[in-house]
């Protein structure tokens, strides 16, 4: 269990923890865009920069991304020193030039004292901050329907050939994790549209609301999901669980409750 010092606060974290986790445990506020508890650290957005040094190091500390730097025993971390703030400011400034109209980026800019971007503003403003959360979530789902395309200034997140993605199952994981709401989707008349593809929805057997796409159900079935797990929407599943618990607490048997419902 490494013990480190974050902005003067001693903090002990489990082995394998990151500097970001340690810093947050110590109460430091570090902005992040590409970080997600459910996904591997990525180090893509460069907002979580901190300055580290170790006893015995001479000279200036090192600026590192805290989200993927392992917390080591004896590490001294500064999360808000002048150098860290100045470096992070450049990152925010560049983001603002790329996404001048994005509320989340505007808020970050305000928090960093930036009124307008000091770089040439993107002639084609976008809400995509290229945090890679969507593609990583899609990979994590095991679908990999979208990916980073091209490079440099023209880099973007897109399906293959910029066509409706054949591998997509319409699960909305990408839209769910997108921090800026850039990934558009819509749902109407039992159909869901995302990435230019239209998916037929399957209705919840409890409340009748469309709750997952047929493609999603097929995908889950092919991976061994039980049919009963696909029948009900999350709300109905919770309700069913609540009913079961209530029955149990009254001393009724679960089987009797199931027979009654």
């Amino acid at each position: 269990m490494p013990t480190l010092r974050v902005d003067g606060v001693r903090v002990t974290v489990p082995a394998g923890a990151t500097v970001l986790a340690a810093a947050r445990a110590a109460g430091a506020e570090i902005p992040t865009l590409c970080h997600h508890e459910g996904l591997e650290p990525w180090g893509g957005c460069r907002l979580c920069l901190v300055e580290i040094s170790k006893p015995g190091w001479t000279g200036e500390g090192k600026i590192v991304t805290s989200c993927n730097y392992p917390a080591e025993d004896g590490l001294v971390v500064r999360t808000s020193g002048e150098r860290v703030v100045a470096t992070r400011r450049v990152v925010v400034d560049l983001l603002l030039a790329r996404c001048p109209g994005t509320p989340l980026v505007q808020r970050l800019a305000r928090e960093h004292g930036i009124e307008e971007a000091s770089y040439e503003v993107n002639p084609e403003p976008t809400d995509c901050v290229l945090c890679g959360l969507c593609t990583r979530a899609c990979d994590r789902m095991g679908v990999s329907a979208i990916a980073s395309v091209s490079r440099g200034a023209s880099r973007a997140i897109a399906p293959p050939f910029n066509q409706p993605p054949p591998d997509c199952i319409g699960c909305l994981a990408c839209a769910e994790v997108c921090p800026t709401g850039h990934i558009a989707w819509s749902e109407a008349d039992g159909r869901r549209t995302i990435w230019g593809r239209v998916f037929e929805m399957q209705r919840c057997e409890g409340c009748g609301r469309p709750h997952l796409t047929a493609a999603q159900a097929g995908w889950a079935r092919a991976r061994g999901a039980a049919e009963q797990d696909l029948r009900l929407c999350d709300a109905c599943k919770r309700e069913q669980l609540a009913r079961t618990l209530r029955a149990v607490s009254r001393g009724e048997t679960v089987a009797a409750q199931a027979a009654a419902s």
Binding site: C138, A147, R151, D167
Partner: protein, 160 residues
């Protein structure tokens, strides 16, 4: 996807050379680029399926590297160096001359698919500026008036 597409026959020997896994992707794409002079969509779909790589990742790699093209390239690539020395010594006039003769500019391919024209930032032969490369053949002190000769003498291969 293997239906009426004789073009796919060229893919088989390429796939046979490498183990069917993700690590082979770039080598396979390089060979496809050489064989077809670009990466056709249906070939990429087949590559994805056979190497067990998501199509989105194949497209991602195909669009990342400059060595790959998604549109058909000419038989011979003409590269015009536009590095500082070549720029000073008239690279722009070479480009103008090529455009006049072939009707295609940088990044474009002639209608007959014989030539693709590209600019490069520096080929490290500044003493010979301006430099024009036809296929694999380097032409130093290139002159707009001699471009007809360069083209007719050919490049003796492909530049990739």
């Amino acid at each position: 996807m293997t239906l009426a597409c004789p073009e796919l026959t060229r893919l088989e020997p390429i796939l046979a050379r490498y183990p069917a896994r993700e690590e082979s992707l770039i080598q396979v794409l390089q060979d496809v680029q050489r064989a077809y002079r670009y990466l056709p969509c249906h070939v990429l779909e087949q590559v994805a399926a056979r190497l067990h790589v998501p199509l989105a990742r194949v497209f991602s790699v195909a669009t990342f590297y400059k060595a790959f093209a998604l549109t058909p390239q000419g038989e011979t690539t003409i590269q015009v160096c536009t590095g500082t020395a070549c720029h000073i010594r008239g690279a722009e006039r070479l480009i103008d001359e090529l455009r006049d003769r072939l009707g295609a500019g940088p990044g474009e391919t002639t209608a007959d698919r014989r030539f693709t024209i590209r600019t490069v930032n520096c080929v490290g032969a500044c003493a010979m500026a301006p430099v024009l490369i036809v296929g694999d053949r380097y032409r130093g002190n290139a002159k707009p008036a001699a471009i007809g000769d360069y083209l007719s003498e050919g490049g003796g291969g492909h530049a990739h």
